[in-house]
């Protein structure tokens, strides 16, 4: 019988499990058996060059060629060609979108403020529950954000407690779009990271802009540069009904070549299909070494990630760390939380679980990168489309707000607070917190300080936004 409250009706049916089961179809699912021949391409200590040398030679010949009838050239081709065009040890920016508008006043709560208790009679974080915020002990991290608190105390999180933009839009789709494209204009159709890739990216490396949502993330929408969407690196595992060996390889090659040809069509719909087909070839070849038997990963993580039936965010991050360590030529990566933080009613359970999972996953990811010795190359940007109304709404929830919270996580961040907590005594006409840091200024600063890129080529009117010191 279906559960009366089917919000969790999908237990045992998360996206990752769905994908695994379908990808394993044709073969009955069996428990993973460790194959000693199977390489761990993302293993700790394997550096980029050695991995790539292996990818072009012995390492993949054993694993990939035997199973799939591939030539060394076909395997090594995509990743080696793409990697050759990428600066060695280049910086990587990872965007984490907490979708729905997370309640910033619960992430970092002004627990000592009597106005807060008045505005949030049922939702307020109790003064005894939270974890004091280093810069300002009158603020408390939510008890579900202990992982953020410990990262912050270690100097690995920069906090923007009042981020947003002037004339805030309270529509999810408009505000989210503004954040995605890096300009408050609904007609812009390329993402801010996508435009960066259009400036610096290569013509044949889809991994430079990688969405890990199982679908293209709009921050990575480009005009010309190729990008890719996957779910996890271990389950991009194509097969074709009734085909194997040469027949399979030639057929897939035909589709990717038709993609290469027809993405130059004058018809935009043909271009959309052809682009995807053309990029599928490189993505598959590059990800083969990450795929174990029956859709299980061929890599292991040096740290333990959380698990949740409602979300595979931690597993996607584990796969990302493995790809980074293996030298997959990434520049910009985007992930979206499975949790929808649009908590109009009964906020607490959704918010608590979602925040906890996000924070714990990102702590594990940081530890993973450090264990693999690649943490200096990675910066994680955590954001949401807006905060929520200061006053709760009576359905034990909160309506759409304006300024919210954003985080930068990594070994090289300055680790403090940028801007200030937006005071509850100075709300806007709609009862929302006002911004004191402009998100476009953060984008400009990221481009300049992290990527060494002139922001004016990417963010319209870049000169008029303030810059913030983001790195140590």
């Amino acid at each position: 019988m279906r559960d009366a409250f089917p919000r969790n009706c999908c237990d045992g049916f998360t996206r990752s499990q769905a994908i695994r089961r379908v990808l394993a179809s044709g073969k009955p699912p069996v428990a993973r058996e460790w194959d000693p021949r199977m390489p761990i391409p993302a293993g700790v200590g394997i550096d980029r060059r050695r991995f790539l040398a292996g990818a072009a030679g012995g390492l993949l010949t054993v694993y990939g060629a035997e199973r799939l009838g591939l030539t060394d050239r076909m395997l090594g081709d995509g990743i080696a060609r793409a990697a050759a065009l990428q600066p060695a040890n280049g910086p990587i920016l990872v965007s984490i979108f907490m979708q729905g508008g997370i309640d910033a006043l619960s992430v970092l709560a002004p627990a000592g403020d009597p106005l807060y208790a008045k505005l949030r009679p049922t939702l307020a974080v109790a003064p005894t529950d939270g974890i004091p915020f280093r810069e300002d002990p009158s603020l408390l991290w939510h008890p579900s954000a202990t992982s953020f608190a410990s990262l912050h105390n270690a100097g690995k999180v920069t906090v923007f407690p009042g981020i947003g933009y002037a004339d805030p839009d309270m529509s999810h789709f408009t505000s989210r779009h503004y954040w995605e494209v890096g300009v408050t204009d609904t007609s812009v159709m390329t993402g801010w990271m996508g435009r960066y890739l259009d400036v610096v990216g290569s013509k044949d490396n889809p991994f430079q802009g990688l969405s890990m949502d199982g679908a293209m993330n709009p921050t990575l929408a480009t005009a010309t540069a190729p990008t890719a969407a996957i779910d996890q690196p271990d389950n991009f595992n194509l097969y074709m009904s009734g085909l194997w060996g040469d027949g399979f390889e030639w057929s897939l090659q035909l589709l990717t070549e038709l993609g290469d040809l027809q993405r130059r069509s004058h018809d935009p719909a043909i271009v959309q299909v052809a682009r995807a087909a053309s990029e599928v070839g490189v993505v598959r070849r590059t990800l083969l070494p990450f795929q174990g038997a029956n859709g299980t990963p061929a890599y292991t993580s040096p740290v333990t990630y959380p698990t949740a039936s409602e979300s595979d965010l931690p597993q996607r991050l584990a796969g990302l760390a493995a790809m980074i360590a293996a030298g997959v030529p990434l520049r910009c990566v985007a992930l979206t939380t499975d949790t929808q933080f649009d908590t109009h009613s009964a906020q607490a359970p959704t918010f608590d679980t979602g925040l906890q999972l996000t924070a714990d996953s990102l702590l594990a990811f940081q530890n993973d990168l450090e264990a693999r010795g690649v943490a200096d190359r990675v910066l994680v940007h955590v954001w949401s489309e807006f905060g929520r109304r200061a006053e709760e709404n009576g359905s034990d929830g909160t309506d759409h707000g304006a300024a919210g919270i954003s985080l930068l996580i990594g070994s090289r961040v300055q680790g403090g607070m940028i801007g200030e907590f937006a005071p509850l005594t100075n709300l806007d006409v709609n009862g929302n917190q006002k911004e004191n840091v402009d998100y476009r200024g953060v984008y400009c600063s990221l481009l300049e300080q992290w990527f060494g890129q002139d922001a004016a080529a990417v963010i319209p009117k870049a000169a008029q936004f303030p810059r913030y010191q983001l790195l140590t």
Partner: protein
């Protein structure tokens, strides 16, 4: 069959060929079954459009009833994924495909997810949307506003005079009737939410029930919405929204975009807005005009939405639902029925990327799973030519048309598969491979996926 009224705007005057009829079947339905384009083309443009927009009698579901992998009937209320397969079956088997296609459009327009309610309430809503398929938009909006699945999804059932909840009041204006920031502000949203107060429901062990309007929960004070003052109720809220100056242009642009790949021309927009307003928000005349518009036939292609692609594979190959794997596969393709990604529905501008492309390949594999050739003897004869093999594979899918470029590439692959065979035992496996490859490659070709 009823005759169409004259269109208020331009009408396609080119030859109504099988190619034109095929586009009509993909965009106003779920693709052709074998022989359908010829039958439709013979009716001429008006006859073909009328056959879709003015069917007579109740819809018939043609062919075998759907069942799961063990042969059991679907249980859409209680089994995860069976609701998806239940509707997919109607898309595949209905002889009134535009009814299902319009229901799909309204499902995306008034995007509601079963994540907030239950399969039963979602299927109830689905029948409401289907009943209004080419009816009156104002009436549709009224019925959606009090629909239980929607009342839960956008918190209408927890919006009371004691604690207004803006969720529905905002999305109704932004997503359903006017468009973001088109002639309203936050104060209108707030006042609209007040007008919409009063719906509620009970909860017990079997879930939500007893949905009703409770006058004691309604804020009966004066509200000012779009500069008009009154003791507005939820019915006034719907009326004010559809009568707002920015509604007709929003409605037309949005509806047009589901059918045509080019922007709506200004004169067409003006003519259709006039028809829409004068008819008090009737949908049928607008759809009949769009389906006869020159740009519908001469404009650019559209990427086929994943569920239409999937239903089209099954219609073209004369198959029905014999597995509930379709629900899993739908997740990979990016379109699970009753689970739109968010309150704005599916993004019709961006259906494909590497991940969803791989999902469509799974759909093609599933549609082919009962037909894989791996016999020791090739069933269609060992003297089959390359051209015959391609024709046979095209016939498997109901004879879709391919571009010359795609066709030439496929024939090249066929030659490659058959090249250099050195022993007679190698012939049947090679013929099997050629036919298996042609079938999957046709379905995955760019030509097949953009129509």
């Amino acid at each position: 069959m009823a005759n169409l009224d004259p269109s208020p705007t331009d009408v396609y005057t080119g030859p109504f060929t099988e190619v034109a009829a095929t586009r009509l079947l993909w965009r106003a339905g779920f693709g052709p079954g074998p022989g359908d384009p010829a039958k439709l083309a013979a009716l001429g443009l008006d006859g073909a459009v009328a056959s879709l927009t003015r069917p007579t009698g109740p819809a018939q579901l043609i062919g075998a009833a759907p069942h799961d992998d063990e042969g059991h009937p679907l249980d859409p209320i209680n089994v995860w994924g069976d609701d998806h397969c239940w509707w997919l079956d109607r898309m595949v088997r209905s002889n009134q495909p535009l009814v299902e296609r319009m229901t799909l459009i309204w499902h995306s327009w008034f995007a509601t997810s079963e994540q907030a309610s239950s399969a039963q309430l979602m299927i109830d809503q689905n029948w409401t949307l289907r009943r209004h398929w080419l009816g009156n938009f104002h009436t549709l909006l009224v019925d959606v506003t009090k629909d239980p699945a929607m009342l839960l999804w956008l918190n209408g059932a927890s919006n009371t005079k004691f604690s207004p909840n803006e969720n529905y009041g905002r999305e109704m204006l932004e997503l359903f009737t006017l468009g973001a920031d088109r002639g309203y502000d936050q104060d209108d949203v707030h006042q609209n939410a007040r007008a919409l107060t009063g719906f509620t429901n009970d909860w017990d062990n079997s879930g939500p029930n007893n949905f009703r309007f409770e006058p004691s929960l309604h804020d009966d004070g004066i509200k000012k919405i779009f500069d008009q003052r009154g003791r507005w109720t939820w019915r006034d809220s719907c009326r004010l929204a559809v009568n707002h100056w920015s509604h007709p242009s929003f409605f037309l642009t949005k509806l047009w975009g589901y059918f045509v790949g080019a922007p709506i021309p200004a004169d067409t927009q003006a003519a259709l807005e006039r028809t829409y307003v004068e008819s008090h928000f009737e949908v049928r005349p607008i759809v009949e005009a769009i389906l006869r518009h020159p740009l519908f036939y001469e404009g650019p292609k559209l990427v086929t939405p994943p569920i239409v692609f999937t239903a089209g594979l099954l219609r073209g190959s004369r198959q029905t639902i014999t597995t509930t794997s379709w629900a899993w596969i739908a997740q990979l393709t990016g379109q699970v029925l009753f689970q739109p990604p968010n309150v704005s529905g599916w993004d019709y501008a961006q259906w494909l990327d590497t991940s969803r492309w791989a999902g469509r390949l799974e759909a093609a594999n599933q549609a082919l799973s009962g037909f894989v050739l791996n016999h020791e003897k090739y069933p269609y004869g060992e003297h089959e030519t390359n051209e015959e093999a391609l024709r046979r594979a095209l016939a498997f899918w109901g004879d879709p048309k391919l571009s010359d470029e795609t066709r030439a590439r496929l024939l090249g692959l066929g030659r490659r598969v058959m090249r250099g065979l050195t022993a007679t035992w190698q012939l049947p496996p090679a013929l099997n491979t050629r036919q298996n490859a042609y079938r999957v490659l046709i379905a995955m070709s760019n030509d097949y996926q953009a129509r």
